[in-house]
């Protein structure tokens, strides 16, 4: 069974089932709660004709969180699953970015330890020639 394909199908279904949460934007902010296990999930779906998705993210810490708290994001949907990390939550620099050959992604966002954190996902769907195409994001888990 192609598990990745099934995950993508589930993601697309979630977009259909949760229209009220769908927004159109190229930046999506979010927060992670205190638990070390906290994970947020988003689906990014591209309009027909798209062939790739650019993705990176920024992390920041609210007052009181450990200064060595680090956020990571796992990106599912391309040929290979990837993980990206913003190595410093105190600067204003993002994680590394990547163009993933896919017409949609599932993104998991989490962190290395207990403590609250903020993040902003930066993403856009593209055609094969690099033109931006229609992009929808949906949050399907908020922890």
């Amino acid at each position: 069974m192609n598990v990745m394909k099934k995950i993508q199908q589930l993601a697309l279904l979630s977009v259909i089932l949760l229209p009220s949460l769908t927004v159109v934007a190229h930046e999506q902010s979010g927060t992670l709660g205190d638990a070390a296990s906290a994970t947020d999930i988003y689906t990014i779906v591209c309009e027909a004709g798209s062939s790739q998705v650019y993705f990176d993210f920024y992390s920041s810490l609210p007052k009181g969180s450990p200064t060595d708290l680090v956020l990571s994001a796992q990106v599912l949907g391309g040929k290979n699953t990837l993980t990206m990390t913003d190595p410093n939550s105190s600067d204003k620099l993002p994680s590394r970015g990547d163009e993933i050959q896919s017409d949609g992604l599932i993104v998991l966002v989490n962190k290395n330890k207990t403590g609250k954190a903020n993040f902003a996902l930066d993403y856009h769907c593209q055609s094969a020639s690099g033109d931006h195409t229609g992009t929808e994001i949906t949050q399907i888990q908020n922890q």
Partner: protein, 293 residues
Amino acid sequence: MKQQRGHVFLSLVTMALISHAQLSGAENSGTQSLGNKIGIVDTYTITCQAPSTHLDFKLRDTTDQVNTNATLPKPAPQLINAHLSKTINKKKVTVDALDIIPNDAKEFTLNGGNGAYQLKLDTLNTNLQLLTAQNYTVQYRCLNSNGVDTTPSAGGLKTGIDSAIKTLKNKATATFNLSCAKHKTLGNTDKIYIKITNKLVIPANASKNNVAVLSGQIYKDQTAINTTDLVSTDDNFSEKVTLNAQSGNYLAIIGTSATDNTKNNAKTYVFEYHCLDNLNTSKPATLLPLENN
């Protein structure tokens, strides 16, 4: 995970056999490896047979284990002991759960029916050289003979979920007074269920300068959970996490927070997975590698 191709099939068969053979507890992936390249992950499918209700998962970074064991004596762990008691027919009956080590949990029950129970925690035989107070959580449930919750009560604790993290200093004790009553429709309490988790105390600077740490995510049916092993030089697993997503295929993703191409970011690791039903009885599980990097 870089295994010789000739051994891959044999490994898969071995994993499947091990998975079916060890149904009494958590199952182990065996030592795996993740390459140096930034951003890569290993992925696996863990299949829980029906009627599983959840998957427990934890992982351990074993990268520095060989060198550590060769050069440093292994320190004894800090630990917590639990003693659950109830007076039954004028006799005090006690169930003990001893030597709960960091990042481990022990679950136990006492068939004492309705009434008052007392849970006492202590640190007898802990490593007194380690001075940091231990962190732990408590969970309790009152259950009838069918394993269904009856009517619990306890100051400061909610039934069925882990408490907020509490602390216990060396040589200190903690006492919880718990009560189980008859439920008006579900009947009498048959037993009380207790789970004590010893939460590892993480060194404050463990991830300073973004040391590449190993983490794992479990994903199924649009839910996910994360766990991280911040220290590669010890024997401790990451915090055990649970994803309540019934039976079927769970996706496990193993990766690191590495961002520095000038360092060797390769890792070796093991993980434990355990399919369980709503009474925390083990259910068959199989493990299938998907992406080996």
